[in-house]
Symmetry: C2
């Protein structure tokens, strides 16, 4: 047994009733309803067929599309209800040891919540003064490591060499790289999968694939990790992925040109918007995500947040230690960002010309 | 604090970014993508709008539709990804005591799995020789009670007086009645909600509403129970319900005439099919569900299962103690059941006329 396998939760997966694909079969084995849903539902779903039947519990179609897309085998991909579901399932599956799991203090806000929920010990590692993760903080013996790359809400993307170092220092536990925002210009850890069998890379359809409303996330890693995730998932709820999610998820993966084009536009808008922020007196870590994490030299973040909201522009403010003078601003369309810039211009000018 | 409140899991719910309904707001606060998904996805989803945006984490529209439908307040309804998700969440939320949770030995096969997963102690209570639940088995001090009504895979539906007795004997713990199959003619425990604040009634859209492919389940109970469920849910994953599920779920609830009509047809077919089973030498507990749990006087269930499968008719066989000579046969359309009857007729005749 590999050291990182010791902390994998042991479960007996449930065997769901068979879901044959042959339409001629008279299927009376899983208590589905033989009648279509209300025609009013039918009017809405149109092409999303067979809603009365359970979805494929193995989600094979979507897993295969993702595996092909990333040049992996089907048994290296796990799919869940958004990356939240995939990460929570990974905590439950891989972090069953006595030693604390490590993650940054300023990071995705659910890591500590899931650890608490599953009674997993953990230690938060403060980012340095430039909001960077320090590999040396993760060198002591631990029960696992998870960090987002790019990190959120800072937007900072570390390079492949950084991820490799993190893995080199943590070969006895599962290391999870949460790549929710990687498609906005970052270097993915995927190329390290062959080298590190304890690496799990997690992605989402909610950001770069514009499908937050569908709830799809996925994990990639060696087949032993994926097998363990599936065992835990199927011991809990085999049918989490809806038919619309599977069908539309595949359609998204298959249209790569559109995916690349919209990501390119967001990166372009981000770079333009960053320069505008410079001009307006903001500072921010260089972003590798679809948001910028910015602070102003005079204006308190909370005040900007409230005034922007009153003007119909929503950005995110976190009332938390170290980051309570920052705003996390999602990159919208160029037109939306121009409106925001105009708003900020007025706000900053009124300050420079009067109070300050 | 009420006794049953002692076992409720304490968590701090997460506050998601705001999801304003006003379309004029420039929404840059939750890192969604400003561009529509691939037009190939758009072609498929048609009327399911705004897939690029997160769904409403409070699922207000669907909860409200269900509350109105059942004559409850919105704060008495909790929605999840199929009743599996709702029941698992209920285990996690309500069964945190030292005493074992009780449920029948022959019952929904996930109860013990979830108890194991969450390290919840439990005791299974054998059904009597007629496959009935005995209230007296649930009278000793315990950490909670859950049972399906109608029970699965037996199909037996107990009356309201039975449920009332179960509640009367278990007032210090949460009692969950899993009513996945109640719409096929059973008496719901809903009318007892005012009387017993420790009662939680769970339903699904997968059977009577023909929407197994969408993944929707829900729980009804007093607002304290629902509040606790929401707290646990939001500490784990706020965005489990997809936009298609919410939108199409509401459409289903609003078309009550269709719902009642399809349920009526299934009940009618079940009653006809039961008589055919009598004629063919099967016995079965009287069913209150959309399936019949049947055993034949000569033919082994496993043999029927395999031969039916070879003939393109899938029914369910469980290789488990006490029920390994039974088949769980879902009620399909009248035409499907006629084909099954014809198949069984041939099978039984060949036995009666030769081997037996």
């Amino acid at each position: 047994m590999k050291p990182w396998e010791k902390n994998i939760r042991r479960v007996t997966p449930y065997t769901p009733g068979e879901q044959p694909k042959d339409k001629n079969i008279i299927k009376l084995n899983t208590n589905e309803n033989p009648y279509e849903p209300s025609p009013k539902v039918a009017e809405k779903y149109r092409e999303i067929q067979d809603l009365r039947l359970y979805p494929d519990p193995k989600v094979e179609e979507l897993i295969h599309a993702l595996a092909v897309y990333h040049g992996l085998e089907d048994n290296q991909v796990f799919v869940g209800v958004g990356s939240d579901d995939v990460i929570a399932m990974s905590f439950l599956t891989f972090f069953n040891g006595e030693l604390p799991v490590c993650f940054p203090d300023i990071s995705y806000s659910f890591y500590d919540v899931w650890a608490d929920l599953y009674k997993i010990p953990y230690t938060v590692k403060p980012l340095d003064e430039d909001f960077r993760i320090r590999v040396k903080d993760y060198e002591e013996k631990n029960g696992g490591v998870i960090f987002p790359n790019p990190n959120a809400p800072t937007g900072i993307c570390e390079n492949l060499e950084f991820v490799r170092q993190m893995l080199a220092e943590n070969q006895d536990v599962v290391v999870i790289v949460d790549e929710a925002y990687i498609d906005f210009g970052g270097e993915s850890a995927l190329s390290l999968l062959d080298e590190y069998e304890n690496l799990l890379v997690i992605r989402t359809f909610s950001k770069s694939r514009s499908l937050a409303g569908l709830r799809i996330g996925y994990a990639m890693g060696n087949s032993a990790l994926i097998h363990a995730l599936n065992a835990v998932k199927h011991s809990y709820n085999s049918y989490t992925m809806s038919r619309p999610a599977i069908l539309l998820g595949v359609a998204s993966v298959e249209d790569d040109a559109y995916f690349k084009e919209t990501n390119r536009k967001i990166i372009e808008t981000r770079e333009w918007f960053s320069k505008e922020l410079d001009r307006l007196g903001f500072t921010y870590p260089k972003s590798g995500a679809n948001f910028v994490f910015a602070t102003h030299k005079y204006l308190p973040a909370k005040e900007i947040f409230e005034k922007a909201k009153a003007a119909g522009i929503y950005v995110r403010y976190f009332d938390k230690p170290r980051i309570d003078n920052y705003l996390r601003i999602t990159i919208g369309t160029k037109e939306q960002m121009e409106k925001l810039v105009k708003f900020l211009e007025t706000l900053c000018t009124s300050v420079d010309g009067s109070v300050m």
